[in-house]
């Protein structure tokens, strides 16, 4: 078993990469995937802490996060499809009606 910190570092790296992806990519689906990646990075932290503290609550939390992620995937992808049906595009540059 490795040091807790190593897991946390990996998690931080993954989270940062996910952030960069969300901020820089144009494709909505890729952005969505990056969000999933960030969620997973957090999950890793949870599990690592759970193991470290000898408390299962963190893992239960991960379990719920996964449920939420599944729901999110379903709804999010449905939104993407709906958006695509309207605009024939999944580029975030084309999503700009939420303004003044």
């Amino acid at each position: 078993m490795e040091n807790l910190n190593s897991y946390l570092i990996v998690s931080a790296i993954l989270f940062s990469i996910g952030t960069i992806g969300v901020l820089t990519r144009k494709n909505v689906i890729v952005i969505f995937m990056c969000v999933e990646m960030m969620l997973n990075a957090v999950n890793l932290t949870f599990v690592a802490f759970s193991r470290h503290l000898g408390n299962l609550d963190g893992q239960i939390f991960v379990f719920f996060i996964m449920t939420v992620a599944a729901a999110e995937a379903a709804v999010g992808l449905a939104l993407i499809i709906a958006f695509f049906n309207n605009k024939q595009s999944i580029d975030v540059d084309d999503v700009n009606i939420m303004k003044w």
Binding site: S6, T19, T24, N40, F63, A71, A74, V75, I90
Partner: protein, 167 residues
């Protein structure tokens, strides 16, 4: 041995994560993401949480990613090489970097608390991880667990309504 294994897995995870962000074709990104998820499952096993690993593979790598790939296929988007697939690279990278820096400093400057819970590695191994998680879920977390089912139901209905053109 274990350290080496950890390092290799980490390397794979980070590289595939970078690939998710950088690859042009969303299909390729998705495949890389699956790779990352597998790496995470491996970590879970290393952390004595085999049930979580199983769920990770089934839900993420299996269900969610399949859904994504399906969507990508369904929308059938041509990758236009001439078009930029990303923007604001520098600003995004800086923010990402600082995110990492924040996290790193927290980890660097703080020390984790000592173990308090009853679930040590030996205990998990002797009783079984799945059993322990199951006990927790169906005793202490019963209500949230049941509520999740409603959440999923709502999500299903919502997805159907959103995606269908005419209801």
């Amino acid at each position: 041995m274990e350290t080496l294994f950890f390092l290799i897995i980490s390397l794979v995870a980070i590289v595939s994560a970078i690939l998710v962000v950088t690859l042009k074709n969303p299909i390729n990104s998705a495949l890389s993401l699956i790779m990352t998820f597998f790496c995470l499952a491996t970590y879970y096993v290393m952390l004595d949480a085999p049930f979580m690993a199983a769920v990770q593979v089934m839900v993420y790598a299996g269900a969610i990613m399949v859904l994504m790939v399906f969507t990508i296929m369904l929308l059938n988007i041509r990758v236009d090489a001439s078009k930029k697939h990303s923007h604001k690279l520098i600003l995004g990278s800086i923010i990402g970097f600082f995110t990492f820096l924040n996290a790193f400093f927290v980890i660097y400057r703080s020390r984790a608390a000592l173990p308090t819970g009853p679930y040590s590695g030996e205990m998990i191994k002797s009783v079984g991880h799945t059993e322990l998680v199951g006990r927790e879920i169906f005793t202490n977390f019963l209500l949230p667990f049941e509520v999740t089912s409603i959440l999923l139901l709502v999500a299903i209905i919502g997805a159907v309504i959103l995606a269908k053109k005419k209801i």
